[in-house]
Symmetry: C3
């Protein structure tokens, strides 16, 4: 569990940093940026825990998540003028999405939820932090508008469920599902693949 835990903290940090870089475009002070960044990092898992009734939510008895989020966001806030290209974070971001998804799906499966709901919990864990981030920034959430972020997450969650149902070793199943999500995500970015879209004039 120790390695997953460390990866989980890293995913929170990456989420917080990308949220900080996005929030930089707005007139926000340090506090506002840090709060939005921490929410982006832990929001998905928090909603999952609430919906599943795993209360208090996971970070209440382990402040490490909040601390990592605050430190990462503050760092990005004050050193943001280093102007790292945004796509410097695309691969860590894809890994974070993958990790959050498999953790959320695993937790839901452990609680005995139906497979569809387990996959949904994986997607919620993976993408909901970004949704709140965009709502707080007063935008239509990005994932409703662009490429196949959530679709990659859903595909990986389904793969994990299928592998689990065939009693594949859980660690192998987790690694394969994460690879699936990361590959779909990066392929979609590289070739600008997206889902059918509504045109305003139809």
């Amino acid at each position: 569990m120790s390695f997953i835990y460390l990866l989980d903290l890293c995913a929170v940090a990456v989420c917080a940093i990308t949220a900080t870089l996005e929030a930089r475009r707005r007139e926000l002070d340090w506090f506002g940026v840090v709060v939005i960044a921490v929410i982006a990092g832990i929001g998905g898992g928090t909603l999952r825990d609430i919906l599943l009734g795993r209360l208090p939510v996971y970070w209440v008895h382990d402040p490490a998540y909040v601390v990592v989020g605050v430190v990462a966001a503050s760092f990005a806030f004050f050193f943001g003028r280093l102007r790292l290209p945004l796509n410097f974070f695309l691969i860590p971001d894809a890994i974070g999405l993958a990790l959050f998804t498999v953790i959320g799906t695993s937790i839901a499966l452990t609680l005995g939820t139906p497979w569809l709901i387990a996959a949904l919990m994986g997607v919620i864990t993976g993408v909901f932090g970004g949704v709140i981030r965009d709502i707080l920034c007063n935008e239509i959430p990005l994932i409703f508008r662009t490429d196949i972020y959530a679709t990659a997450s859903f595909a990986g969650a389904l793969l994990l469920i299928v592998l689990d149902s065939y009693r594949v070793n859980h660690n192998i199943a987790i690694v394969l599902s994460m690879v699936c999500i990361i590959v779909i995500r990066l392929v979609a970015i590289r070739w600008h693949i997206s889902l059918p879209r509504l045109r305003a004039d139809t």
Copy 2:
């Protein structure tokens, strides 16, 4: 319970379809529309369950709600160009509001909450899905701006509570309350009745 359950699923479907038709005006892909539509369908009951502590929330152990929402929204998304007039849905929508309200109120009464809170839970179940839908679409929620949607819901919830306190048969009370909500809602639409409003210049 079987008939109520079926009606409940229908109400989710209607909510999801009207949300899809509203979301069509925006540049959203299939995924974004479906997520917003499903949230509009199950969001009210979800918030009610969280506030009352009925966890995990009602759809976690019954994926039928999510499935119905996804199917209805996808259908409306791909066949939306049939251009059904929006008021084609006014009556199903009013029935959905009525049903969600009486279900929410009944559940809260069963848990022994004070009557005012029970009525509030009915209103939350009835209208909150639409509130999240509008927040996700980056609009001020519609119910804060127009006619007496929530007021109809509140009136019906109160009627149900009064009838229950006089030990009227619960099924009869539910039907009467639903009729009350539907009539108020349709009368308000027909004659453009609304509550006192703030003028920007006062």
Copy 3:
């Protein structure tokens, strides 16, 4: 507990009134304003209770909170044209922030959460109502953009935790923490102190 309870109701009323005065700038009917005002009053404590797993949330079995919020907001709605200056409420508002913060922090400490999380719960209780209010009004939440509202709350929560850890009498600790929050808040308003801010061009 009776005096704290009364102060708590007053804080809900003040929150609801200031939210009403803010919502007046928008085209909202009575219902919309009252709902936003009540949410502003009880939203922070509600989120705290959900995250900590204290369900049902605190106002479910005590309708007084909702009643006070509705009455205060309705009063401000209909008599709002008296044009009380907005800073008429700055001192009650600071007291409300202080009170919500110490209540939230105390509750979390009682449940045995780590100190950082307890402070966070105090801040959430103090400021989250205003955050939802702004989201519902379709604005970037005010506290992310201006002065040190949340910072004052955080400082007071930390002071309470420190005093508690030195076994200072709890009532004295509460009073000192509230004074700390109120003073920081009013000093910040008076001399326009704020945190470092991102400039759009950096």
